[in-house]
């Protein structure tokens, strides 16, 4: 007899973002089962806290912030549990901050190498390598870049989600791009696609 607008409202708000939210959860957990659990918990929390969502603001960014905070909670809880830090060995070796800084300076100095000049041909040239190189980025750099490029969130929204200053977001995105440009350049050169003119 009474309508249920809260669930209806929630459904309308969340449905367009579930796919992306799952993708973000996967980015954070790197594991499909954990991503599913995380997303379910986050959606439950988002529903319970729906009254705190400010109308007119970006629901996707709000949901992602909940996801991110829950992920941190999960990590904290995991850390308290006994057991080896078994996951890190599955991950590729990460580039460190100093190397990122150096690569960024080099890439900036040398300018474009033309590897990505032709949009259509770079889709042919680069496939799974893109994901391999992405996975070499430290998590905070990869997350910032993908929130920007895949999720279309603004630097301010990313800053709110990951809880760091907007300048740091800007710098992470820029350095992540320099790193990828360098890796893609090295990869293309290895395949003989780049002429060594210098």
């Amino acid at each position: 007899m009474l309508r249920k607008p809260t669930a209806q409202l929630f459904e309308g708000l969340i449905s367009p973002h579930l796919e992306a939210a799952y993708g973000f959860a996967f980015q954070l957990t790197r594991n499909e089962a954990d991503a599913e659990d995380l997303l379910q918990d986050a959606c439950q929390q988002a529903f319970a806290k729906l009254h705190l969502f400010k109308k007119g603001t970006n629901f996707k960014a709000w949901l992602f912030r909940i996801l991110r905070n829950l992920h941190i909670d999960h990590l904290r809880r995991k850390r308290r549990e006994p057991g080896p830090e078994e996951l890190s060995q599955h991950y590729p070796v990460k580039v460190d901050d100093d190397a990122l800084e150096r690569i960024h300076a080099e890439v900036r100095l040398r300018g474009s190498k033309g590897v990505l000049d032709n949009e259509a041909s770079c889709y042919d040239l680069f496939g799974d390598e893109v994901n391999r190189f992405l996975s070499e980025l430290p998590d905070e750099f990869r997350v910032a870049l993908l929130l920007c490029d895949l999720d279309g969130l603004s630097y301010q929204e990313i800053s709110d989600i990951v809880g760091c200053p907007i300048g740091t977001v800007r710098s992470r995105i820029s350095r992540a791009r320099s790193f990828l440009k360098e890796k893609l350049y090295q990869y293309a050169r290895g395949l003989g696609y780049v002429k060594e003119s210098e």
């Binding site: 959606c43 009254h51 705190l52 109308k55 007119g56």
Partner: protein, 277 residues
């Protein structure tokens, strides 16, 4: 602009993060500088490459419906538990329910918006002075007792609002009757925030024996307790965008006030007509 300045801004141009002036300046430079333009093109293509190639697992089958079903279930459980206590006394109860800033604007439309806080702050101060704390934990049993003694309005429980907690109450007048103002704040708000601000305000009215108009009943998302002829309903009137369980957005207040005024006028006219009959 020099090349080095432009190179610092290329990513922000790609991500549409520059204001108009800086965007125009960077674009003007790119038009005349092939080297910087190549870097810009490279970043743009990299962004598109990621959009095409970065792996995002598809949403597992059934997950979306499980999530939505869970929300619907939670909604139904919350509605039915709240409605159960209320349904028997509906015929005898009248209820009004309004978010605070808008309501106070209605009482005195010329009042500056900041003054709307008076009653609410009074409600909060009351508990601060009682507990001597700046972040009082309200003794709800004591609050209910005081409300009953002071106003004759008896609630057998404080309306529960998910994620919000009662921080105080005070008396007020509405439609020429004494009512109770209950002030809530976000329970998740940090206790060390300098300016504590109740975010939800509701009003409970004693019954005058009239029925709740059926349109309003359908517009209501939940009702709380009935006892001693008082009911608290949470209205969700789409035309008013009135939503109890929301933070109060002051920027929208003026806009909503107009619809609120006309709604309440209608309500008054309707009860006047019914009284004449």
């Amino acid at each position: 602009m020099r090349c080095e300045d432009v190179l610092d801004l290329v990513d922000e141009l790609v991500d549409a993060e520059l204001d108009d002036a800086r965007r125009d300046a960077v674009r003007a430079h790119l038009d005349g500088c092939a080297a910087c333009e190549a870097v810009y093109r490279e970043s743009t293509h990299l962004k598109r490459l990621l959009q095409r190639r970065a792996f995002r697992p598809p949403l597992p089958g059934g997950l979306a419906s499980r999530i939505l079903a869970r929300a619907r279930r939670a909604d139904e459980e919350s509605l039915s538990s709240r409605f159960r206590t209320g349904v028997t006394g509906l015929a005898a109860a009248v209820l009004a329910f309004i978010t605070g800033w808008m309501f106070l604007s209605l009482l005195n439309p010329t009042m500056p918006s900041l003054a709307h806080a008076t009653v609410v702050h009074e409600a909060v101060r009351r508990y601060e002075s009682l507990s001597g704390a700046t972040n009082p934990v309200v003794d709800t049993a004591a609050a209910l007792r005081e409300i009953r003694e002071a106003t004759g309005i008896q609630l057998d429980a404080v309306p529960e609002i998910s994620g919000a907690r009662l921080v105080g109450w005070s008396q007020d007048r509405f439609l020429d009757r004494t009512c109770v103002c209950l002030a809530y704040e976000d329970a998740l708000a940090k206790s060390d925030e300098r300016e504590r601000r109740p975010e939800i305000v509701i009003f409970a009215l004693p019954s005058d024996g009239s029925d709740v108009p059926s349109d309003d009943l359908h517009a209501c998302v939940s009702c709380f307790e009935i006892k001693g002829g008082s009911t608290v309903f949470c209205f969700r009137q789409p035309s008013l965008s009135l939503n109890l369980v929301t933070t109060i957005d002051r920027t929208e207040m003026a806009k909503r006030l107009e619809s609120l005024k006309s709604y309440l006028n209608d309500l008054k006219e309707r009860s006047a007509t019914e009284t004449v009959r």
